[in-house]
Symmetry: C2
Subunit: 361 residues, 2 copies
């Protein structure tokens, strides 16, 4: 099968022939139908996150089950599935208390004595985030996928595997936004836009979108933001406080910067909750004004929207098919696998909406 391989930091991906192993007892082989191109795919290429190379990138995909391992009864060949990188073990403390997104992943991580799941003439191709979606087929643990209703278009379904779930889940699962409350979202990229949509679906009253790029703010408005704040035009904390006296009930940070995390805390009203979705690089210390804790403000992290993806993704498919979740608007164009390097360039140049790889069937 064909796959987009990253061989060295800084180099373009190369379309190469690679081989999948046969499914182990709890594994599933999937024919890839669609795969989103996400910022997290660029980090290994740029070397900002270290991953073993060579690797097949891609982690946001949907497809059709081709073959299942002997112990799998959750899916069967022909089922439509979405992959998810929040692979869960199903038996650790976190899985068993409703928090599979922070699972210890004891068993589901590939065993060291297992042969490589992807290889090329005997050479190991490392599997990216237990998935590797930029390939015509995937071989993943049965706990790295979720079955999806058959009338769900798979290009839209692929989007549910990462950024959309992260945004929606941070609102529904991590923060638990209540109807009529006030929400601020810092950063209107893919995750931030999904967070805004989550706030709309959860019935938030005022939803303030914050970014420095006018086109992103316009997209935020199209997603349902009621107020727009351009952070390039002055302190966003003051701008939010001018809009909403006393500060907001819920703030969300969807970037991962020290400065914006601190802004998320500073724009809270008393009793407010700041949810940090963005991944903060190692070594970055976040500073908050300790005195404000007496007002019972809260700072919390959200790991991929605290998703329970087997539960959440079918709900999100229902929301899409009911016309309540916008996914079409998030897709800027469809490409072939061979155009992956162009897609990376577009992403680097600030393309906000998703580019979707459509695999020939």
């Amino acid at each position: 099968m064909k796959a987009a391989v990253l061989r060295a930091i800084g180099q373009p991906l190369q379309i190469e022939e690679v081989q999948l192993d046969r499914p182990g007892p709890r594994e599933v082989r999937i024919r890839t139908v669609a795969a989103g191109v996400c910022h997290s795919d660029i980090h290994p290429q740029e070397g900002t996150q270290k991953f073993p190379l060579p690797t097949v990138l891609g982690h946001e995909s949907a497809g059709i089950v081709e073959e299942v391992g002997t112990a799998v009864d959750y899916v069967k060949p022909g089922d439509a599935v979405v992959t998810c990188l929040s692979v869960f073990c199903g038996y650790c403390e976190y899985c068993l208390t409703g928090r599979p997104a922070i699972c210890r992943k004891v068993e589901t991580r590939r065993r060291r004595d297992q042969p490589p799941r992807i290889s090329q003439n005997g050479e190991t191709m490392h599997q990216f985030l237990d998935l590797s979606s930029f390939a015509e087929e995937l071989l993943v643990h049965e706990h790295a996928l979720v079955k999806i209703r058959e009338d769900m278009p798979l290009d839209k379904a692929a989007l549910l595997g990462c950024g959309v779930t992260t945004g929606l889940g941070s609102v529904f699962n991590t923060a638990g936004v209540e109807p009529g409350t006030t929400v601020a979202v810092i950063g209107c990229g893919g995750v931030g836009l999904a967070t805004i949509q989550g706030a709309v679906i959860a019935g938030a009253g005022r939803i303030v979108a914050i970014d420095r790029i006018p086109s992103k703010l316009e997209l935020a408005k199209a997603m349902g933001a009621t107020d727009l704040v351009n952070a390039a035009e002055g302190d966003p904390v003051r701008q939010v406080r001018d809009l909403i006296r006393g500060g907001v009930h819920y703030s969300f940070e969807a970037i991962g910067l020290k400065e914006t995390v601190e802004q998320a805390f500073d724009m809270l009203g008393r009793g407010g909750v700041a949810t940090i979705i963005g991944l903060i690089p190692m070594g970055v210390r976040v500073e908050i004004d300790g005195e404000q804790l007496v007002y019972e403000k809260k700072l919390q992290g959200s790991n991929m929207g605290s998703n329970r993806f087997r539960i959440d993704l079918p709900r999100y498919a229902d929301l899409y098919l009911a016309g309540k979740l916008k996914l079409d608007e998030l897709i800027s164009r469809e490409i072939a696998l061979e155009q992956i390097n162009d897609a990376f360039d577009a992403l680097r140049q600030g393309e906000v909406a998703r580019q979707i790889i459509r695999f020939k069937q």
Copy 2:
């Protein structure tokens, strides 16, 4: 009536004759039976917190209702009551959503055009925290007291008005500790000891008490701590992590220092919650390792245990009378109002348990 008056920063309290006004429509006059001596009473004397002077200190008390205002029907003369400084308005957003501890206190704050509630031959005596308990009588808003069962000893009941409620409530209301979970409490003064008791009552599994003073750790053990960590003997975060692999579910900080707040966050396991009870002085920035947010760790403030004191204090009286809440052990000695300066000295020298002023009846 007699009261202990603070006239200037750094001076001893003086026992003087002062006068109470008559109760306004929603006010209650109480004959003071017992009043605890708390660190918060010392701060205005030392000037570390600014309050208008002269003032009658004291804020943790119990007594008997003597007279009620025309609009009061919650209590009647002869009722036993405990005072509480978390006076609530009962109609703001926070009161009406179950969070009266962070009430905006719009109406219950004394109106500026009201004459002084305490005076001396026409000179204003400022009321401390809407209470002023170091006096033979109190004149307080009906929302600054709670009726308590008649068989509850009033010296023990007085303790419920501040530190005990703060500690218990931080466990029950703010953090919501579940049975069998692991808890660490940093600081084993009055509030920390109550936090440990709260963890015991809530059914926590392991309860790690952390302090630098061996006698306080011994008290913590008597209250039900299962493990003791002397922070003077090495990094307490490492010591806690050696005891409880992976870190604790819940940590509590009952001091109010930057260093210990940061330790509370650092000793959490994934998904853990750090609850900050200690008051952090103005200007102090708390720093946390941003990367840890991906494990869904949470930092939150607790204002006096997120108390709903009209609801909580009767429950705590039930717990005491059922033998489940230790209060007798928290009292080191009973004194007369005239001994207040000796009591302040003892508190400054590290007396951990409460000294209770018993008023002559």
